[in-house]
């Protein structure tokens, strides 16, 4: 059980080759405590709350339900990848503009959920967004402002796309 493994993870485009872990360590624990990216949070450790949501090869997953060793060779993206040079991206700005966060603990999970979802469904309706938002738990906001934020971001991206065409 406590035998050590040496693994390598690719997180936010950067390779971490020197991770000495036990096979039972979850991805979220290794991201937080070994890779040193504490933006991903642990809310329940049984796959319900979604606070630990990260993107694995572009798809949202619960990082508490995956062993770190299972993520070798895959592209992992965490909340730390969203902003660039201290500038928040459009999704993060929409969360702020819509007051889509209060305590902020669940927020990284919702951001990564939305990032993965919008990449797949850029034309999502409000109802579809609400359905996806219901994957994760938030105790502060009552969800409406999270739905607003994702909708606003999607609209903005569609408009930008329209202008680009």
């Amino acid at each position: 059980m406590t035998e050590k493994l040496l693994i390598s993870l690719t997180v936010n485009g950067r390779r971490h080759d020197d991770l000495v872990i036990e096979s039972r360590y979850t991805l979220v624990d290794v991201l937080r405590h070994h890779v040193g990216l504490t933006g991903t949070h642990v809310g329940c450790e049984h796959g319900v709350c979604g606070a630990c949501t990260v993107l694995l090869d572009g798809a949202p997953v619960r990082a508490c339900l995956i062993f770190a060793a299972q993520a070798e060779g895959r592209e992992i993206r965490t909340v730390e990848s969203l902003s660039h040079g201290g500038e928040l991206n459009d999704l993060q700005r929409a969360f702020s503009a819509c007051h889509g966060l209060q305590c902020g603990f669940c927020t990284p999970g919702f951001l990564m959920l939305a990032e993965g979802f919008l990449a797949e469904r850029p034309d999502a309706t409000r109802e579809e967004i609400r359905e996806v938002v219901s994957s994760n738990l938030c105790r502060c906001t009552g969800y409406q402002s999270i739905v607003d934020a994702i909708e606003q971001c999607a609209r903005g991206r569609r408009e930008a796309q329209g202008e680009a065409r």
């Binding site: 059980m1 406590t2 036990e22 039972r24 360590y25 624990d29 937080r32 405590h33 990216l37 504490t38 933006g39 991903t40 949070h41 642990v42 809310g43 329940c44 450790e45 049984h46 319900v48 709350c49 606070a51 965490t78 909340v79 730390e80 969203l82 902003s83 928040l88 993060q92 969360f95 702020s96 503009a97 007051h99 966060l101 209060q102 305590c103 902020g104 603990f105 669940c106 927020t107 990284p108 951001l111 609400r130 359905e131 938002v133 219901s134 994957s135 994760n136 738990l137 938030c138 105790r139 502060c140 906001t141 009552g142 969800y143 409406q144 402002s145 999270i146 739905v147």
Partner: protein, 779 residues
């Protein structure tokens, strides 16, 4: 333009959105040991043996301690009341010879990593001599019930009869109508998404135990820690990082944070304890399990004549610090009449001990229940008297202010009637009454329900003293400091855990000093930076904390004015603050910037007036001498009951709220919506259950149904503004109202939908099977 009243972007957001927030589990000190607890597996009994030898043999485990190993004082919360009204009960940091609930901590295990510590906990062997558990208030009060605490006969920790109007029985005997509500509300978990936790270490240089912990009440944790560990307060520093919610659960002192600190002190190594979700659901603090039997007398016109209440609160195994097991019964007793003119009132309220995890405050404390009970009484009276339920409320609402009620509480001005009228108009104008009739004609169950209530906020020391707590929270302190750059840091004794204080308090300060909020930094949650503070609970931060902060900013402004007047060769009354500088009133061209003033105050003290101190700091305090201030709101809800599933679908939710001056309207709406979501959760979903042996049945999010975006609807919010006369900003508190008003409105809507069936429901949560039974969809 003033900052107060503006939906300014939150100062907190950039770090929280980019993963740069620092919550307690994000703090990792070199050499940290990870702690978890061996917890009781029986609900009630004697501990006959604790064997930690296998634990200590687990690879990675460094130490394990029981109560006998650590010299720890007990956590004892006290009310200054006679023994007939209150029995103090000590909560040991680690259980000694007895355990009183499943999950009670017995030993602390410390290991090199968080996985090894779980192995260590699993290897511990505890033996018990089990007693018969007491798992309900009914069992607790039954003759011959086993006693949890020898000092508390009938398992009763609090038994108070705060009001008994003379002649009330005659009023009931002669009344045209007497209605009765018997209601039970389920045990709930406040459930912040971040569980509890602490990182504690000994700092030999400062000779201090440094405790990073996610608490709403840092100074109270320091006081309790110092007491339990026999330390001077100076040698304990409590620092609160970013907090992932609290909702009251984190405004009491936790046994685990004290045990972790004791272990750090003993081992001289940093100790981290992060509660896991199972412990958070089963062994943390719970709330809300109450039983009401209330009668109300009405005249033929629907005016309430008298109110008679018997309230039993199931508080679990221990009193929480500092509030005690009195938190729920005392609140319920003091506030039950609410927004209505009740001429005669009698109440008995009890707190009983049961073999369940202890209770702490949870957002709204008893008011979700008392509002529900009052609003059910209004609805029931309307039904019996064949009157419109909104009209019955109108006839009883307090409309002249200030109003001193039968509960010896003076209500400051509010907009009770206006909010209710607006709420009703919204639903009428949208055609919901016609839609309800049309639905009924099709055999569907659509109902409309309201609640109308006020929420006392800004409890000062006078109001808390009335509750007779030995620890009387009330005032708060603030310190404002200007640095050489002309920017301001303000330290407050309140502690935001999601409420946006870094923004809203900065808005208050920015207005007082003519600064941009970007030039104001609010600092909170560090016991070394301010002498004392009571933290954040009971919607006190905007009112009390905000007023202290405003006064500190004004005091700093006064220093700036005096210094500037000296430098500008004029009198104090001929200068004013303007946009980052002080200018002469008679000659706006002659001004001195904050930077220049700071330069003199710190680096050119020889230029200061003779009587002036160097530096630019100012401090202030604020307390409320009186009964506080009352925010108010009305909620209107339309529901449809689905016979197939028993589901209660919320078709429409409107709220008209009045929290005085809204410092940041977007933040106020966020508080409302989040609060309403928690209220809906209590009305329809959440229930902590135990089996007959006192084993908790809700150990995961699968068993405890916290609602998602699927269950919580969009909520429309409108604002009225009755400014508070005595807070510095005119704000009243806004933290709890949503949670308080929602259960009553939802329950009334469900009952309205059930009208054709003749069934009335008064218990929450309303279970799908209850709905199905009520509409005859299942036997």
């Amino acid at each position: 333009m003033s900052w107060v009243g503006r939906s300014a972007a939150r100062r907190e957001d950039p770090r929280l959105l980019s993963g740069s927030g620092r919550y307690v589990d994000d703090i990792h000190l070199p050499g940290t040991l990870h702690a978890q607890f061996v917890r009781s597996t029986v609900a009630h009994g004697a501990v006959t043996g604790v064997d930690l030898s296998a634990t200590l043999a687990v690879p990675g485990v460094v130490a394990a301690f029981t109560a006998d190993d650590l010299e720890l004082g007990d956590i004892t919360a006290v009310l200054d009341r006679p023994p007939s009204e209150f029995v103090p009960t000590a909560m040991p940091v680690l259980a000694r010879d007895r355990v009183r609930y499943v999950g009670e901590p017995i030993a602390i295990v410390l290991a090199d990593n968080p996985y090894a510590v779980e192995d260590g906990v699993e290897a511990a062997r505890v033996t018990y001599e089990a007693d018969r558990p007491v798992v309900s208030a009914e069992q607790a009060l039954a003759p011959g019930a086993p006693l949890l605490h020898a000092a508390a006969p009938a398992n009763t920790l609090v038994d108070v009869s705060m009001f008994a109007t003379e002649g009330i029985d005659a009023v009931f005997a002669g009344a045209h109508e007497v209605v009765r509500v018997r209601a039970n509300t389920a045990r709930q978990n406040a459930l912040p998404l971040e569980t509890r936790g602490a990182v504690t270490s000994w700092d030999p240089r400062e000779e201090q135990l440094v405790v990073h912990t996610c608490t709403q009440v840092p100074h109270l944790v320091r006081t309790s820690l110092a007491e339990c560990l026999g330390l001077d307060e100076r040698t304990v520093r409590v620092i609160v990082p970013d907090m992932g919610g609290g909702f009251g659960l984190k405004c009491v002192v936790g046994r685990e944070e004290i045990a972790a600190a004791a272990a750090a002190l003993r081992l001289r190594r940093p100790v981290k304890w992060i509660e896991d979700r199972r412990d958070a659901l089963t062994a943390s603090f719970l709330a809300r399990e109450q039983h009401y039997d209330v009668r109300a007398a009405f005249d033929r016109d629907g005016r309430i004549l008298a109110l008679d209440a018997d309230i039993v609160c199931d508080m679990g195994a221990y009193s929480c610090y500092p509030f005690t097991a009195g938190i729920e019964p005392l609140m319920a007793s003091a506030e039950l009449p609410g927004v209505y003119r009740v001429p005669a009132y009698r109440v008995r309220a009890r707190a009983v001990a049961t073999n369940k995890a202890p209770s702490a405050p949870y957002r709204g404390v008893s008011r979700p229940q008392i509002v529900m009970v009052m609003e059910r009484l209004m609805e029931r009276a309307a039904r019996e008297l064949d009157l419109d339920p909104v009209e019955v409320r109108r006839r009883n609402l307090i409309v002249e202010f200030p109003y001193t009620g039968v509960n010896d509480v003076t209500y400051d001005p509010g907009s009770y009637l206006e909010s209710l009228n607006w709420c009703e108009r919204l639903l009428r104008d949208e055609g919901w009454y016609e839609r309800r009739e049309a639905a009924a004609a099709e055999g569907r169950y659509v109902g409309i329900g309201y609640s109308c209530f006020s929420e006392r906020t800004g409890y000062g020391s006078t109001a808390f003293a009335k509750r007779k707590m030995a620890v009387v929270p009330g005032f708060d302190l603030a310190e404002a400091r200007m640095d050489l750059s002309g920017t301001v840091t303000v330290t407050t004794g309140t502690m935001s855990h999601g409420q946006s204080h870094e923004t809203t308090l900065a808005q208050i300060v920015a207005d007082r000093l003519g600064l941009d909020i970007a030039q104001v930094k609010i600092h909170q949650g560090d016991t070394d930076r301010i002498p004392y503070g009571f933290g954040t609970f009971a919607s006190r931060s905007a009112t009390i904390g905000g007023s202290a902060v405003a006064r500190a900013a004004s005091a700093l402004g006064a220093r700036l004015l005096r210094l500037a007047a000296h430098l500008l060769d004029t009198t104090d009354d001929n200068v004013e603050l303007h946009d980052g500088s002080v200018r002469r009133r008679d000659d706006h061209g002659r001004a001195v910037s904050y930077r220049e003033l700071a330069d003199v105050a710190y680096l050119k003290a020889h230029l200061l007036p003779k009587d002036a101190e160097p530096g630019l700091t100012a401090s202030a305090s604020f307390d409320v001498h009186g009964d506080g201030t009352f925010s108010n709101a009305a909620h209107g809800v339309v529901v449809e009951l689905h016979p197939g599933t028993g589901q209660v679908e919320i078709l429409r939710y409107v709220c008209v709220e009045d929290c005085g001056v809204a410092i940041n309207p977007q933040v106020v709406e966020g508080q409302c919506r989040g609060g309403i979501a928690q209220g809906i959760a209590g009305a329809l979903f959440e229930q902590v259950t135990y089996d007959a042996q006192g084993e908790p049945a809700c150990a995961s999010f699968i068993d405890y149904k916290m609602p998602t975006a699927h269950e919580i609807p969009d909520i429309e919010i409108h604002h009225l503004e009755t400014p508070c006369a005595f807070t510095e900003s005119g704000a009243k508190g806004a933290g709890e109202g949503g949670t308080i008003g929602a259960p009553a409105a939802v329950l009334n809507a469900v009952n309205n939908a059930l009208l054709p069936t003749g069934v009335e429901l008064d218990d929450t949560p309303i279970r799908p099977e209850t709905v199905q039974r009520a509409i005859g969809a299942c036997p």
